[in-house]
Symmetry: C2
Subunit: 196 residues, 2 copies
């Protein structure tokens, strides 16, 4: 089966589009997606690559572009969503734990839905606990575990792995060492995976 690694950070705006449409794309194409949360903020600071901060014209376009594209996918976001996210690291620590335990996709979709469709920032309450609960997990246990040193290390290791692949932004789709950056490269990544 064609497999695509879906590298993303909760906190990335364009990743909303991929997070919401990935299940449909998987069904339609038969591709399997591996959800790989990482810390894009760490990568961007490291690489001096700051896409929207202090760039109001580009940021305004980004929201408009997401709004238009979301509509073509049948989504109805409240634009602009809260941004940037103070709780980015915690949001992704929870995702890393979810990846280890098998509920990462449900949690990520729940938290993006609250963030982009109800205006509630991911990585903090009420979004955080509600999304963990919606993924079938106990928020108290998850938040205690997600804040532990081993999950901190796991997120750092995933982030290093992403950088080793040449990843510099979220979302990025990786197929056999080839990377495709942006929700608008999802079709290219699937085609690459299927051309094996």
């Amino acid at each position: 089966m064609a497999t695509v690694d879906f590298w993303y950070s909760i906190g990335s705006t364009y990743s909303y589009l991929s997070v919401m449409r990935l299940p449909d794309v998987a069904r339609r194409t038969g591709c399997e997606f591996r959800w790989r949360p990482f810390n894009v903020r760490h990568v961007m600071i490291e690489q001096n690559n700051i896409p929207f901060k202090d760039k109001p014209v580009k940021a305004a376009y980004m929201w408009r572009d997401i709004e238009r594209r979301a509509r073509t996918y049948g989504l109805s976001p409240l634009i602009p969503a809260p941004y940037p996210l103070p709780g980015l690291v915690l949001a992704n620590q929870v995702a890393v734990l979810g990846a280890e335990e098998g509920w990462v996709e449900n949690y990520t979709r729940s938290t993006y839905r609250r963030w982009f469709e109800q205006g509630l920032a991911a990585g903090e309450d009420p979004n955080l606990s509600e999304s963990i609960a919606e993924a079938g997990q106990d928020p108290v246990r998850v938040l205690e575990t997600a804040g532990s040193g081993s999950i901190e290390t796991a997120l750092a290791e995933s982030t290093e792995e992403a950088m080793a692949l040449g990843i510099f932004g979220s979302p990025t789709f990786a197929v056999r060492g080839e990377i495709f950056w942006g929700d608008d490269r999802l079709d290219d990544a699937v085609a690459w995976a299927q051309s094996a």
Copy 2:
């Protein structure tokens, strides 16, 4: 007829893709494209938006992405092309004169072909004079006129017009005040133009 303003700077790497495929897209869709050269470097410095300088990881991806996409359009660029272009301003002054006189599209395609397919920087010789000649013009006359104050002013005015539209990068497609940034938004722009 559906009309799309094609805002671009010779010097932008991704614009190569649009410059080369626009005639086909126009034929296929019936859309009319108005070629609008502007000075993207001025806009980027003004807006503190520097996409690739000192960002080697992102720059490496950009070349790979252009190479892959070019292939899907049937193009065979020599990657990487010389970058950045020292002659960016002159290259676009010539384009502005070409827009006034009706040979902008031929000149732009000729100069991009030499830049991306023969490794000869646009905005300087031999690329510059050869591309002007290929567009049916006398290089001596064109270079004299393109360096004049009135063309300098015309390029500055086009650049101001682009910024007033919210444009921050090249290529950008503009349709009735709506802007679409990137070669990968060309289809969206055409759809918007045709949904009038």
